[in-house]
Symmetry: C2
Subunit: 345 residues, 2 copies
């Protein structure tokens, strides 16, 4: 049995969709148990209407909620009875708790995980790591997708190590191909940060570094881990979202403008398009992992509904079972970055 | 009559497709004349097989070609009889030459334009500015999409000014909405560069600054000019390309996997999809303008075929006729950046 803690009050659709997601997940996986933190008065009525194994979902009552309007550092310190802080305290203290899922504010989850659970010794900066679909039907990780707007070369080396460990564990890729996302494929491309990071990645043992890649390569299927500084990684991630949305809108508009295309769509293609939408809607795959924290933390999208929460819970369980944290530690010690002359200062 | 100079030897498909593009453009616009620079022995036979007004295409013979393998600064200095250098010299010296189009190496075109034509007084750094389609069927500019991997706040202010001038002139937008692309919409988001740039853009007269935007907003149709540093702008631009390509591949695959979807496609939707592909293939709209140079310079995609070259030539003519350079100068003097405390040093 693997125990995952769930922030019952985080996200736009809390607590109803969050609770439904928990039920969906325990029904899907008999080896999963979920502890939900949050307002009992709001959560119990939702649970009461659903059918599931009562032994495997429990509830820890708390009174506060951290919202997007809170300043993360303050909220984590002051809202001690919030669903997020109570959950993270439990994650830290309860050895049988293997992971945590929240659809709450990214800043608060990140800050809370750092302050209350702690980072892996040797990791300079934890990073946000979402999974995207590729043109070749595979998956690709972007790391860092936004936790660190300013980076040093050693941070990017840590992202490569953590991304590799996660791709091995959760995507089942034996030797993940790591690309450094810059403004051109040539070795000398990029600003000094990326030029130095490139030199570091070349020397890093335990990593399959394929060199510099461009934005167009992220979803090509030719790499498994796209290493970015958090600033441009966030822009790249959100640009994929915006572009996919724009393309689907342009397609829809062109279909609706042509009588015959509309007929074809209605008669033959509705099902295929539904499937396409599902592939593109990568939030349904689960959330973004926060790598570099001592335990598994998954940040589900703020607009998560039950199916995304369900996927995030299963993802957290899988990451815990595959010992992602231990794998990161092993790769870190193999890499021996200090010996490569890289340090945080 | 507007005279545009065309680099006959730049690009993967030179000179044949380049020459065909020139013929296509003069046939499409009776007020356009084109001067092609390049190897007469290769260009004349292509021209001989085509039908066009002989008065409006002329040829200037030269013997050298600058390729992607050349180091731009060296090539511009040493290959004095190359199609690029000869063209730029003519652009500088011939007052009746209003613009220039090349599908050659971006680095060489940029370096050559700077060294041989010169930048607009007061513009700190010229920038590459491509046009993308939006979800609302409009167009959006990205500036800078890759000329400057390292930027200062004042550079980003100049990009906003130049993008505004171009959007007014070539896209016909009276009051272009300018967004600063960062890792979040809140005012304090971004690294120090983008935080300072944000403050500067807020104070800039003549610019309709709508604030920080995210990667997902670039193609949304809610902004007209996306201001980026050249590093993340390049990543954003190429991520749109890669994502659009991945989405189309995923759609194709899903259609080909379903018998009924295949039938629907073959019977009803082929035409609609062709149109969609055309909308997405923004290289066909023309090239990326190099803004900040004393005369109009359009960089067409390296893989340009005749239709892209044709579009780039018409785009260059339009930019020249709308006095983009003069408009940039007027906005620059209105902005009075030095008075706002912004300088290059």
């Amino acid at each position: 049995m693997t125990k995952i803690i769930l922030d019952g009050m985080g996200g736009d659709n809390a607590p109803e969709e969050i609770v439904k997601g928990a039920v969906c997940a325990v029904n899907a996986d008999k080896e999963l148990s979920v502890v939900i933190t949050g307002d009992e008065g709001k959560i119990s009525p939702v649970l009461a209407g659903l059918s599931y194994d009562k032994e495997r979902i429990s509830l820890v009552h708390c009174t506060e909620v951290i919202t997007n309007d809170d300043v993360p550092t303050l909220a984590i310190r002051q809202k001690k009875d919030s669903s997020l802080v109570v959950a993270l305290k439990m994650l830290k203290e309860d050895e049988s708790a293997k992971g945590f899922v929240s659809a709450g504010s990214t800043g608060a989850v990140l800050t809370g995980a750092l302050l209350r659970v702690g980072r892996i010794r040797g990791v300079s900066r934890p990073a946000v790591c979402p999974v995207l679909p590729t043109a070749k039907e595979g998956k690709v990780l972007i790391i860092d997708a936004g936790a660190n707007a300013e980076c040093k070369p050693v941070n990017l080396a840590h992202f490569a190590i953590m991304g590799t460990a996660y791709a091995k564990a959760n995507l089942g890729i034996a030797n993940p191909r790591v690309g450094l996302v810059t403004n051109g494929t040539e070795e000398h491309k990029g600003d000094p940060l990326h030029q130095e990071a490139h030199e570091l990645l070349k020397k890093l043992p335990g990593i399959c570094f394929v060199g510099n890649v461009e934005g167009r390569d992220i979803m090509s299927g030719d790499i498994d881990v796209a290493v970015c500084d958090g600033f441009s990684g966030n822009i790249a991630l959100k640009t994929t979202e915006g572009t996919a949305m724009a393309v689907m809108k342009i397609i829809k508009k062109n279909i609706s403008e042509s009588f015959w295309a509309k007929v074809g769509y209605a008669l033959f293609m509705r099902k295929a398009f539904k499937k396409i939408k599902r592939v593109m809607d990568y939030n349904k795959y689960g959330g973004a992992v926060l790598l570099g924290i001592e335990k598994v933390v998954v940040k589900s999208h703020g607009s998560s509904k039950a199916d995304s929460i369900c996927a995030s819970l299963l993802q957290a369980k899988e990451a815990a079972e595959h010992n992602v944290t231990e794998n990161i530690k092993a790769l870190l010690s193999e890499a021996d970055l200090e010996n490569l002359g890289a340090s945080e200062s």
